[in-house]
């Protein structure tokens, strides 16, 4: 199993360091991302999910400890080498442009193309694979601003697939989607993790859905950060500690959150 680990960390503390002081947002975190797994990162707003994602993706450094990608410190990667190991799907809007869906997906090949960005037959193959896997063939020639939010999310996932990296990280891919689209999107991620043997990590607020569809979850609570399978997390009652409020609790039998209206 050892060689199946793509990314791991020793015990890290995350937060922001300026010249004057260090603000630690969460500490005592250990994570391990393995091949073929769909992993959800959950926790309340402001608990440090984004900071953790930024730390894992090398955008910022951990305050203490190190993150290793393929057993090499992530801080030692160049931008281009890193781009061949992990791809991102972010929450930010795309700037206005005339990009078609196909061109957008093809931009995922940038880490491999020459100085002019010319696509080789291999590049085109990977782009078409990504489009087929995400089932967006019918959108390929449309402009990226002509499609719905749910479709755009799939296109961005296709772009990440085209980047052909062992690890894909998505920041809240299910926000702005209705329940059905949330479910189908996560199903797509689950299928991709199995079919392409990639590790897919995403942050989300849809804990119920994540419990049903994910192989593992990283739960951030005020006390600690735990990584385990949904079943184990249910058994040891971790979900009850996510929300620091009496009116919401986790029902272990039903496997979902219940609200108490008082």
């Amino acid at each position: 199993m050892e060689n199946e680990i793509i990314l791991h960390s020793d015990t890290i503390s995350i937060g922001y360091a300026s010249k004057k002081e260090k603000i630690i947002i969460a500490n005592d975190i250990t994570i391990q991302l393995q091949k073929s797994k769909l992993i959800a990162l959950v926790g309340v707003n402001g608990i440090g999910k984004s900071t953790l994602l930024k730390t894992i993706t090398g955008i910022q450094k951990p305050i203490e400890g190190n993150v290793y990608l393929n057993n090499k410190n992530i801080a030692d990667y160049t931008a281009k080498d890193l781009a061949q190991q992990m791809s991102l799907v972010l929450t930010e809007h795309l700037p206005p442009s005339n990009l078609t869906v196909f061109e957008l997906v093809a931009l995922g090949r940038q880490p491999y193309t020459n100085w002019l960005g010319t696509l080789t037959t291999e590049d085109l193959e990977k782009v078409n694979d990504a489009i087929r896997l995400t089932k967006i063939e019918h959108l390929a020639q449309k402009k990226h601003f002509e499609i719905s939010d749910g479709q755009l999310q799939k296109v961005l996932i296709a772009r990440a697939l085209a980047q052909d990296t062992p690890l894909i990280i998505l920041d809240e891919p299910t926000t702005h989607l209705d329940l059905l689209h949330k479910f189908t999107l996560l199903q797509l991620l689950q299928r991709l993790a199995k079919e392409t043997q990639k590790c897919i990590l995403f942050s989300t607020h849809d804990i119920d859905l994540a419990i049903q569809l994910c192989d593992e979850m990283i739960v951030m609570t005020p006390e600690k950060t735990v990584q385990a399978s949904p079943c184990e997390l249910i058994k040891n009652g971790t979900f009850n500690t996510i929300f620091d409020d009496k009116s919401i609790g986790f029902d272990q039998q039903k496997g979902k959150f219940i609200f108490e209206n008082r």
């Binding site: 931008a79 991102l88 960005g117």
Partner: protein
Amino acid sequence: MTTKRHYFLFISFAILLAFFFSMDLISGQVSIPLKEVFKILIGHESSKSTWDYIILNFRLPKAITAILVGMGLSISGLLMQTLFRNPLAGPYVLGLSSGSSLGVAFVILGAGFLPSFLNQAVLSDYGIVLASCLGSFLVVLAIMIVAQRLRNTMSILIVGLMFGSFAGAIVNVLSYFSTAEQLQKFTFWSMGNLGNLSWNSIGILGTVVSVGLLLSLFSIKSLDALLLGENYAKSVGLNFKKARFIIIIATSILAGSITAFAGPIAFIGLAVPHIAKLLFQTSNHKILFFSTLLLGAILMLICDIISQMPYLSMTLPINAITSIMGAPVVIWLLISKKNIQ
């Protein structure tokens, strides 16, 4: 389908460029037949020696300047529009030309304050180009800093506007203290002029513009990545700071050197990339780079032909022509494009 259309457009543009280039050479107060123009161009004597003189020392340099100016300003606009994620960006609108003007004003109007031996050095072509490039570079730097804080398209434009009036005010103060002769020189410069360039000056302009265009050519891949926004661009392996630095250097030397030699020329930099995007219906910078290059040259030649209409006894300032053609494009863009946030 789309590539066929692109080839067709490229070929038509190449033909149009050749057409307007010859049109520009034959038109003017003295009409010279096309056949004679060709004779002169390939090195033969024409039937009249005055024609030789007019073509080789006046019209040919002017047409070449028009092409260099059109290409350089348009590419500089294309770079800025992608870098600042702003469809309304351009060297004139964002105040690069004002920055250059300020640099040139300091040199032309302020040279009197310097000792005479420095005066000569500063007032040379090189001195003016350097001051002008420096002026536009400082303005792009300032805009970049503002653009990082304000994500809003319109606020960046307002900042450009402010640079314009700021530069204008300083120029006013400078002109208050300068002689009539200096003032006249600066006023003529500021109206924009494609003629009056010696072959020597064209050599300098051509070299500097080529460097700028070459830097832009090497930025094509980064520009494509930037279509996804800064963070995505970084995630596909773009060295953002380096790419941004190269783009900014390219923009400021293109806008700066052209403004130094031809004066501030409005709207070409803003309008041409949009016409290219509209005709080619793409954001692919490999296509946009070459189409903008061709279109910029064509449009500038057309403006030059218009500025010396055969029925007019004098040439109109080129800046007036580009503004009359360009300003409506901007208004139309604001009203009709849904894709502007």
